[in-house]
Amino acid sequence: MPGAFEGETVTRRRFMNVVTQGSGMVAAAAFTLPALGFALGPLFSRVPFDWQVIGPPGDFTKTTYTTKVLTIVQGIGEAGYSIAYVRTRDPQIDTEPVDEYNRWVALSSRCMHLGCPVRFVSAAQRFICPCHGGVYDFRGMVAGGPPVRPLDRFYTRLNESTGMVEIGPRYSVNSELERFSPRDPGQPLDGIGQYLYPARFDTSSGPPGHP
């Protein structure tokens, strides 16, 4: 081979090039990859899971909603609060199958258009969003405006030992009120929606036994 000594398969100039550029790339990767992983890490983080007491069963009725303040994120003050609208399950109107996690219906105040806080207007029996005019009926199903799916819900349960109603993690529903792992607002779950908007990598934020 020209430029190489007897028995060499690569010229010394080329070997030098490869070694210099290779070590430069290793050095750059040594700080880029950890930094990138650090920035992308929260995508894979687990959602802290806890049950919060919201009151005795007598606090809630079938006919109207009670407003409860939840702590969604610990330790950041008011920015970590969210509101749930809670009522007792009414078999007359709540047609979705009953289990131990929905004996109280707890709707998230997060609008499923783009995440503004909805307000329950008892005179109209509707949830109304101030931002872009989303309207939901008494069960949280879309009644008008831009929202793409019914209001998110929270798991609820009765703590047998204390006799208190507790509220758990959020879950999303499609228009049939089938449960999905929590999604962001604006992501429809009907039809191909659940495939266009995949679940988070970590979906273990639901109660035990939930897919």
Partner: protein
Amino acid sequence: MPKLPSPPLPKILKPVPKRPGDNGQKMGPVEAAAEGGIHVVDWLDERTSMSGGIRWLLFRKVPKGINWFYTLGSATMFAFLNQAVTGVFLAMFYRPDVNGGAYESIRYITDDAFLGQLVRAMHKWGASVMIILIFLHMARVFFFGAYKYPRELTWIIGVVLLILTLAMGFTGYLLPFDQRSYWATIVGVNINGTGPFIGPYLSDFLRAGPEFGATTLSRFYAIHMMLIPGLIAALIGAHLYLITKLGISAPPWLKAEEEPEMREAEI
């Protein structure tokens, strides 16, 4: 040419004419200062040869017919420089603390800090001015056809600069951390989340998790004051290099002048 009358200055302020035969043996303080400056510039130029680069950048030929529309690009750049300078000084007071500290530090800047209200207003209004100017600049380039060969890369870099400027607006909007910032960011992040397939991961990346949390604000702050400004400054450099290298395009209403030799060749 008629000579203008000399201004009616008092005698003491009138420049003293040089004495005949004075060949600069004795320098006045002004001449000495000028001489000193020339020495410094010479010293630098001998070691860097930067005068050639400066001449290349500033003393270049421009086509006939350029007009005020051609200043929109530099106007945008000066808006960016205003944002950079005021932003550095705002960063000396700002505290990206979700638990009330961010709002309190903004309140301190606005109400208590000396000239804080002015500097913050310059940053806030300058942001809008920069967005308006960058769109006007883009419209000028588009309607004058200045994006055409060989200036396509300049246009592409300009589009990236436009996107980065909008990202600056988005990340900066959260920093005062009042109700408007908070909900606007919730909505903005969720708009990112509506993109199919990558949307959910993009919104989680922006929020640093599935919910708006303790690190969302500091993440936005870091993106706003370190990541994007560095990119913008680097890309403005590339943009200016290409403008200087390729020259400015003539306005579209200007007809190209025919070379006399070409006219003869046709005959």
